[in-house]
């Protein structure tokens, strides 16, 4: 069935951010009254494309056609005027205002704002759309699910005929997801078109009619739900039939050096981010943790660094129970860390030499005074060894990302830790620096350290890991050998469509 007129048509849309090609000649169309999924991994360009449609970004080239008319969308105001509404991952609500005030905000309505009339209008409209909200509630008192409902309602209140939802289920508990899907189906039956951004296959299959897959900024194809399977989608999303990466020089592996057992960790809001997570890493192997961002990787990194205290479970390093150890105790026990955000791993205003000494100051202290000569000598040695392009006296914030990461590697690895925890170690680095960092990690494996690699870059996971553990919603849903990994299986695991029954394959 080809609709006479598309609700939205995006033609050859291209958007660059510096050197990054976020959208590359993307074509996308939306039929009236359909729920259309935009599926892809992190960084595939889904959100960028939709932010262009909503006027938050401007495309470098390409055109947008709304209801058959070429449209020029320079701001959300233009988008709203064309009947397009968007609910972003970060809600655009003002917490100190009421629901009514939030919904009325930006609505032309003369000078005077009559709270009673506005409230009545909001209440009537909510009843008409069948959306349960309390117009008088302060937004800051609402749950995440309720806030999302307000956001959806806000778009409908502005006569949206096209609703863009950016990963709407990422913040919801399962029951709220069900309510959301019911609401969407009902609104769809009343003629609303929905663009549903997601990387979760099961959800896409549950609620959408058509699916457009983006990969690396390009459209990998559009399929009808009835004519596809989760397997096919996973393959389109990840983009490779097989990876065929077998580690050369695979070693006989030794004792488990890092053991995580039933780790339960709460995030900042007090919600469980890790729900009984277990794995171990042996001497001489790289265990890759693969997964879509936001599934607990950050909390896992922090828990292993000793900065986030687990509520339950165990953390053992070389047999010693270090569950409640402080960061410095962990470092002393032989854990080397490469933090997720390298700028948090260094003190920008201090020099390279000072940063290199920072994690084990006791080694550079004599009689309570810093031994500047030893600090400098240490820095000179590491700068030469790790090819850091900097002088010991350079302030570290002046370094490029690659050199800063080398400095962090030098600090973490120079003490030959028995366990190395590397979180997103090559994020944002150029090719040369990436290769250098990866090579260093493999060196650690080869000298017998247990290396835990937490990365959202699947290629990186596949290039380095001996075993791959997939994390989904705070749990390890499967562990497989690198040789057994293929796109389909990883895609299914990463998107929660499948869970390996026995949990762990050794």
């Amino acid at each position: 069935m080809i609709p006479l007129m598309h609700a939205i048509e995006m033609r050859s849309v291209t958007k660059r951010f510096g050197a990054l090609l976020a959208n590359d000649n993307v074509n996308f169309d939306l039929a009236p009254g359909e729920i259309h999924a935009l599926l892809g991994e992190n960084g595939a360009g889904k959100t960028t494309l939709m932010r262009i449609l909503y006027g938050l970004y401007r495309a470098d080239s390409g055109e947008i056609v709304v209801g058959g008319q070429p449209a020029h969308i320079a701001s959300p105001k233009d988008a709203i005027g064309l009947g397009i509404g968007m609910v972003t991952q970060h809600f655009t609500l003002v917490p100190t205002l009421t629901v009514t005030e939030n919904v009325s905000l930006g609505q032309a309505g003369g000078l005077a704002f009559d709270p009673k009339a506005a409230r009545q209008k909001v209440a009537d409209s909510a009843a008409r759309f069948g959306i349960e909200i309390n117009p008088d509630a302060l937004v800051r008192h609402l749950s995440v699910g309720e806030r999302q409902r307000v956001e959806i309602f806000k778009a409908l209140y502005r006569n949206a005929r096209v609703l863009i939802l950016d990963e709407p289920t990422a913040v919801l508990v399962p029951q709220e997801v069900d309510v959301l899907f019911e609401t969407l189906r009902r609104l769809q039956s009343e003629g609303l078109s929905v663009i549903f951004i997601s990387h979760k296959l099961n959800e896409v299959m549950a609620v959408c009619q058509r699916i457009t897959v983006l990969r690396g900024g390009r459209a990998a194809g559009t399929v009808n739900k009835s004519a596809t399977t989760q397997k096919e989608l996973a393959r389109m999303m990840v983009g490779r039939e097989t990876f065929g990466v077998t580690k050369e020089g695979a070693r006989a592996q030794g004792e488990p050096l890092l053991r995580v057992d039933g780790l339960l960790v709460l995030d900042k809001k007090g919600w469980p981010a890790l729900k009984g997570l277990s794995f171990d890493v042996r001497a001489g192997e790289v265990l890759g943790i693969a997964g879509v961002s936001g599934n607990g990787q950050t909390e896992l990194t922090q828990a292993l660094a000793g900065t986030l205290k687990p509520k339950a479970g165990n953390l053992r390093v070389g047999g010693r129970n270090l569950t409640h150890a402080s960061p410095s105790q962990l470092a002393a026990a032989g854990v080397g860390r490469i933090p997720e955000d390298r700028h948090e791993g260094v003190v920008g205003e201090l020099t390279v030499a000072e940063n290199l000494a920072l994690e084990n100051l006791q080694d550079f202290t004599a009689n309570g005074m810093l031994d500047h000569r030893r600090i400098r000598e240490n820095a000179e040695k590491l700068i030469a060894e790790y090819q850091i392009k900097a002088a010991p006296t350079t302030r570290i914030r002046a370094l490029s990302g690659g050199n800063m990461q080398k400095a962090i590697l030098a600090r973490a690895l120079s003490r030959k830790p028995q366990v190395v925890i590397a979180a997103q170690p090559t994020r944002g680095l150029d090719v040369g620096a990436t290769d250098y960092v990866r090579g260093k990690l493999l060196e650690q494996r080869d000298r017998g350290a247990a290396v835990l690699l937490i990365s959202e870059d699947l290629d990186e996971i596949l290039a380095l890991s001996d075993r791959i553990a997939v994390i989904y919603e705070g749990r390890i849903v499967g562990i497989l050998r690198a040789g057994e990994a293929d796109a389909e299986l990883l895609g299914l695991l990463m998107s929660g469509a499948k869970e390996m029954a026995d949990g762990i394959k050794d």
Binding site: L56, T92, G106
Partner: protein, 303 residues
């Protein structure tokens, strides 16, 4: 009621007038997310421009109008720096205070040279709506600008809470991303809030030179702008509460003036410091629950 108390109340309202105007002006800026530390300089500029224009034209009201326009112009400059360019608000605000103080002093010398006594003007006379009525008569004997300042308080409340523009100001000061996504122009709202607010600051300065003093002196503002910044925190960014803060400070100020002449054997500097000490004390109590506009000090850039 004795003469002392009646005089005190009347003086409180007089002293509080520029504080009310200045604080409401600052309130507009801060509720939109901009800390306007230009206030001290803008009040000084307003006092100067009002004085010169009134002197040249012979119309005090024309002077007030000119001071408001001068303030709005300064607000425009602040908006260009802090909103358009995203300059740090502490730096841009203090810069404007330094610039306008220096500019006013420079212009003063150009116009008046270096007079031995400060140039003066026939100031506004007080209205006396209740005439010789006991008690209320003297209390209500106030400048028209004092009545206007008091009337502006509910007006500002109405503007903030009962107009679309006010809703936009509050939204922009709390979550500019949300306002932007709702189709509100964050820049336009902040420009407008800064110009209106700074206009009120200009009027506050003009009150000092054209009503209270009838003269222009170098120390005419004497830190009142900074007091306004503190009163905002004391009043928790609410127009009505801010009024109480201004009246409290005005009251203590008026009281110390009277204590100075009461014959107490203390250096007069002790009395002069009293209102500021009370401000600090009140702030330590009230400031603990301060709920700053969430976007205060944060420049907004899309993307």
């Amino acid at each position: 009621m004795d003469i002392f108390l009646i005089g005190l109340i009347a003086a409180t309202l007089r002293v509080a007038t520029p504080l009310i105007l200045g604080t409401l002006g600052e309130l507009f800026c801060e509720r939109a997310g901009i800390l306007n530390l230009g206030i001290e300089g803008i009040m000084f500029f307003g006092a100067f421009v009002g004085f010169v224009v009134a002197g040249a034209s012979g119309s005090l009201w024309l002077g007030v109008l000119a001071a408001i326009l001068a303030g709005a112009l300064a607000g425009l400059l602040m908006a260009f720096l802090a909103v358009q360019l995203g300059v740090n608000q502490h730096v841009s605000g203090l810069g404007i205070t330094l610039l306008l103080t220096g500019f006013s002093l420079f212009s003063f010398r150009l116009v008046f040279g270096e007079p031995r006594v400060p140039p003066s003007i026939d100031p506004f006379s007080r209205l006396s709506p209740l005439g010789e009525t006991p008690i209320l008569g003297p209390i209500f004997e106030q400048y028209a600008l004092t009545y206007i300042a008091l009337a502006i308080v509910p007006l500002v409340w109405w503007a903030l809470y009962r107009t679309s523009f006010g809703l936009q100001i509050r939204a922009v000061g709390e979550n500019p991303e949300a306002a932007d996504a709702a189709g509100v122009s964050v820049y336009r709202v902040r420009y407008a809030a800064l110009m209106i607010g700074s206009g009120l600051m200009g009027a506050a300065g003009a009150f000092l030179s054209l009503a209270q003093l009838g003269a222009f002196t170098y120390g005419i503002i004497a830190g009142r702008g900074w007091v306004c910044i503190a009163l905002i925190i004391f009043g928790n960014w609410e127009p009505i509460k801010v009024l109480w803060g201004a009246l409290l400070f005005g009251g203590v100020f008026a009281l110390q003036l009277r204590l100075q002449t009461s014959g107490l054997q203390l250096p007069y500097e002790v009395f002069l410091a009293l209102p500021y000490l009370v401000t600090i004390a009140a702030l330590t109590v009230a400031g603990r629950n301060a709920s700053y506009p969430a976007a205060l000090l944060k420049p907004y850039k899309r993307e």
